[in-house]
């Protein structure tokens, strides 16, 4: 067997993936930067137009608000699920983990349509409430931020549960035992000893959900019904309806930079390396 240097082996292993990334991701991405700067005319015109547009500003505010509320919702619900699975489940644990992963087997599109069936004007929820005589006229449960956030939390929940569960699996039960043996109540032991140790998992779950939510398209498009215009849907409008490639690309670049900024800020508080790469 020929002897290759370590450097050669390293590049031989990395190169195939790197080549695909460059051809199909980095190169088109650079293309978008270029389009944003020279379509229809060369210059910063697209960015200036964007900065002037109230619609764009509104869309960015909505995007960040929806992503933020979704993240908070996922963290609260996901923490409870992760905690229950990590600390109590016993023999049903594999089943519970499978239930967390189950939504991944159904396409986001179908899950979002299911929410429409539930939340629509004559959807199951409204019908049930009217049938029970609780309301007279149907509630507006979708085509607003409520519906979008509700469905987004559903879609994003596994992304919050998995990193938190991985983190909790690495925490020995002897810490809580020690705290209680030393005089702390169950609640104090959780708050002072267990919870601080789960922060890396919470942070990586939060970052994952927030960043994915910023660029999410399908669910907000379907449940927002054009009334909750998040950035990715706004970009689609510019390109598909108005063939405005320049503005669409400029918006994409701005979203990318904004997302990178979020990660950069998060990196000041979270050790991303340990939070995302060295789990458990």
């Amino acid at each position: 067997m020929p002897r290759f240097s370590d450097k050669f082996r390293y590049w031989a292993l990395v190169l195939p993936a790197l080549a695909i990334m460059i051809v199909f991701y980095i190169w088109p991405l650079l293309g978008i930067w270029v389009i944003s700067l020279n379509e229809p005319v060369v210059g910063l015109g697209n960015y200036a137009k964007m900065a002037d547009s109230n619609a764009v500003k509104t869309s960015f505010v909505i995007t960040f608000r929806v992503a933020f509320v979704t993240t908070i919702g996922c963290l609260i619900l996901g923490y409870i699920v992760a905690y229950a699975i990590s600390n109590f489940a016993g023999r049903v644990k594999p089943l519970m983990i499978a239930l967390v992963l189950l939504p991944f087997w159904v396409s986001v599109l179908i899950r979002s349509f299911s929410w429409i069936v539930l939340l629509g004007r004559s959807g199951i929820v409204n019908d049930a409430l009217r049938g029970a005589g609780i309301i007279d006229s149907p509630l507006r449960l979708m085509h607003n931020e409520f519906g979008v956030v509700l469905a987004m939390i559903h879609v994003m929940l596994p992304f919050a549960v998995l990193p938190m569960m991985a983190n909790m699996r690495g925490i020995s039960s002897s810490y809580v035992d020690a705290a209680r043996g030393l005089g702390a109540s169950e609640w104090t032991a959780f708050r002072k000893v267990y919870f601080p140790q789960t922060m890396p998992g919470v942070m990586s779950g939060a970052l994952l959900v927030f960043v994915l939510s910023l660029g999410f398209y399908v669910t907000p498009a379907l449940l927002g019904g054009g009334r909750v215009l998040m950035i990715s849907e706004y970009i689609t409008y510019q390109i598909q309806e108005f063939l405005n490639w320049g503005l669409g690309s400029a918006l994409s670049v701005t979203l990318l930079v904004a997302t990178a900024l979020v990660i950069a800020v998060a990196a000041r508080f979270v050790n991303l390396r340990s939070a995302l790469l060295e789990r458990g």
Binding site: S172, S174, Y175, D177, A178, A179, R180, G181, L182, G183, A184, S185, E186, T188, K192, V193, P196, Q197, M199
Partner: protein, 361 residues
């Protein structure tokens, strides 16, 4: 025992069909250094866990100064606890770890600060107060765990194999320190270990457990010199076992015959002539000499040189292989494999054993 601080009565703990604890009764005296010693699966940790309150007993009671605390959660029992692996809280500094038991008891800040200093001083770790546990060595973490367990002045300190993760030399040093700490503070220590050296060197009393039952208890010297069962004789130190027949009753006691040599044995008078007895003999009680000088003769099989001591396996026709352990400077002969030697022992060296409880049952 006058007025025990802790009493365990008829303690039973079952996991499925396995009895981890089987009708255990135990009293712990105030200020005592009590060691629960046994192999893994003997129930020693189960017993400690039941005392601490982490896993309630299936039946039986734990009482603290006469008050039944069997139903109390661990945080109401007020025991200090040192865990195997220390369980120092990784998100807190050394200072906050030691302050933890005081803070959850809502003691005033001035008292907390003073007490933390005092406790760190006790284990000579003041210089490390602001470090995180991950920045400390195993021995240092062990000291912090001890300071934390003592900071709220508990009456009883429970220690679960606290030295097992340390290397041999450090373990020996910390044994001295733990013992000195115990004597200075007067706190009751209940110490779980599977290491006989730790048990012998520190304890006022050792309780030997096997299969969830107490096999024998007593101070280290009594246990070592007068083991009641083969299990105890073998688990605490090493022993040679011999099956002998009582052949004569003399004014001073009984005697047994090995080959054509008669040996006096200290044994209960109840034994009749002709009865078989199992006898334990400590390797260091056997004298070794040139052939013909002692009563029994044999051949050296193997020699193991341990520096301070020298262990020799001597093969005897009737007794089989006998382990002899002598200080190197007075072995008696220069042993090498194949050498013909003689050996013997004093009358009080042999201990007559009962059968192991489990074999009898």
């Amino acid at each position: 025992m006058t007025d025990p601080i802790l009493s365990i009565r008829n303690a039973v703990k079952t996991y499925g069909k396995i009895n981890a604890l089987d009708r255990v009764d135990l009293d712990v005296a105030d200020g005592e250094f009590l060691t629960l010693l046994g192999p893994s699966g003997s129930g020693k940790t189960t017993l400690l866990t039941a005392i601490a309150g982490f896993a309630p007993l299936t039946s039986g009671t734990v009482s603290l100064r006469g008050k039944n605390i069997s139903g109390e959660p661990p945080e109401h029992r007020g025991f200090g606890m040192v865990f195997q692996g220390y369980a120092l809280f990784p998100t807190m500094s050394v200072r906050d770890n030691v302050a933890f038991p005081l803070r959850v008891r809502k003691r005033p800040k001035s008292e907390v600060d003073a007490r933390v200093e005092e406790c760190l001083d006790l284990v000579q770790m003041n210089a490390f107060a602001d470090r995180m546990p991950s920045q400390l060595s195993g021995g240092q973490q062990q000291r912090i765990a001890l300071a934390r367990a003592l900071s709220f002045k508990p009456q009883v300190l429970l220690l679960d194999e606290p030295l097992s993760a340390l290397d041999k030399k450090l373990r020996a040093d910390l044994q001295w320190e733990l013992k000195a700490l115990h004597d200075r503070l007067g706190v009751t220590f209940i110490y779980v270990t599977h290491d006989q050296d730790e048990a012998l060197s520190m304890s006022d009393r050792i309780v030997i457990l096997k299969d969830g039952r107490i096999q024998q208890q007593g101070d280290p010297e009594t246990l070592y010199n007068l083991p009641r069962t083969p299990f105890v004789a073998d688990f605490l130190g090493k022993s040679n076992f011999m099956d002998l027949t009582v052949t004569a009753r003399e004014a001073t006691g009984l005697s047994c015959t090995i080959g054509n040599a008669a040996f006096p044995v200290d044994a209960p008078d109840a034994l009749a002539i002709g009865e078989r007895v199992k006898v334990a003999l400590r390797p260091e009680r056997i004298r070794l000499a040139e052939a013909g000088k002692e009563m029994l003769s044999g051949t050296v099989r193997q020699v193991s040189y341990l520096g301070e001591r020298c262990q020799v396996i001597v093969k005897h026709e009737e007794l089989g292989e006998i382990l002899v352990s002598r200080p190197t400077w007075k072995v008696g002969v220069h042993p090498e494999a194949g050498l013909a030697v003689s050996f013997g022992w004093d009358r009080d060296a042999c201990v007559v054993l009962e059968n192991d409880e489990n074999e009898a049952a």
